[in-house]
Homo-oligomer: 220 residues x 2
Amino acid sequence: MLVTINAPPQAPAAFDGLNTAAQVPSLEFDYPKGTEIFGASEPAQYIYQVIEGAVRSYQLLSHGRRQIGAFHLAGDGFGLEFDDVHRFSAEAVISTKLRLVKRQSVERSAQGDLVTMLSLLRMTSTSLRHAEDHLLLLGQRTALERVANFLVEMEHRSAAAGVLALPMNRRDIADYLGLTLETVSRALTALKQSGVIKFMGTQRDIVVTDTGRLAEIDLC
Amino acid sequence: MLVTINAPPQAPAAFDGLNTAAQVPSLEFDYPKGTEIFGASEPAQYIYQVIEGAVRSYQLLSHGRRQIGAFHLAGDGFGLEFDDVHRFSAEAVISTKLRLVKRQSVERSAQGDLVTMLSLLRMTSTSLRHAEDHLLLLGQRTALERVANFLVEMEHRSAAAGVLALPMNRRDIADYLGLTLETVSRALTALKQSGVIKFMGTQRDIVVTDTGRLAEIDLC
DNA sequence: CGCATAATTGATAACTCTCAACGGTTGTGG
DNA sequence: CCACAACCGTTGAGAGTTATCAATTATGCG
């Protein structure tokens, strides 16, 4: 790993380094479903960590086109900018509790503290890795592959095994995968009909019944 | 800007901070056209800066699908990894001269030097910004918009005004834009026929005759 | 000059989008 | 508690964009 100084070897999340190691004050805040957390091109005053809930980061284009760059789930940090303004907008997908840390105090801390700086670098690198993976998906994969990849990603990130409880609707998934909601729906139906997944109760609760086959489609 | 300590306020490129400020030794090396610079999943031993030429960073999928994440032109740094292995492969698009800096020496420098660390953060942030912009393009834009955006990007990055001399072929452009080479060719022909661009001599040398219209398509 | 590579162009196919209708769920207020 | 509205998800039909396959022309290099 790049720069292996006295940082904890396996920190649970990059963000955590910010206030455990460097005593940067933080506050918590609740965002009801659908609430804006910050808007694109607004000054970046805080950086954020999801305590509970789910957040979507997105950019808009004309004709109502929206690209969701990432979903942030419990534990994830987001909203860190190198420049002074946010490049994405962020909204609560469902009722969400966030930890907020003042950007200014992080900066102050980073100026004298390599560990804080390393946390920022790790957080940025994590975002970069995710964005690069997503490039491959958006540029080269079919609809079915994208949806399969999405399910694998979500299952991997959701701590709970068993039922995958998606917090977002089909339109969110579509805008994340560069598809339409109908295409997402059809892909899910196809996976269901080929016995790879199963819906439990509502259509947002999914059980992967054939992990191997799903991974196969994903890796295609 | 995040962390505004004693770093030069407008450093020409993030990479430069690495050996100007921190005296990290570097070496130069030539790569003929088509040569591999490093492969995906190889250990990351160096970080790189283009002195002259052009480099493509890409990931592969089955069935020969390739996603080019970025082109690196003169001045650009690339190959910086937080983890120990490269996540992309990199090849010289044309005959290319690179500056190489040993990763290890950068790490050593970064452990005691906030300026070096800041350079790494800036470099990573620059890559992230580019990747995020590219997400929007790959997820939401039409073929014509993608090609227009590509031309605007290349024109913006090429120092020389006037003729835009593309170092890469149509397949490279296609794999960068998530299209096929035929679609790229057709989009360029459409732009040519609507008087937005003109070919000079070879089909790689392009003059933008209607910057306004091109920007309009790009921003759509 | 000739061959290999690159780029264009055309015809057709395939995939995904768009538009539309319908069924299901949830939440709210009478 | 029920009725209704709003939202969500699915499904179908058809259109549109881009991919695929194929042929031709252009370019560059030995």
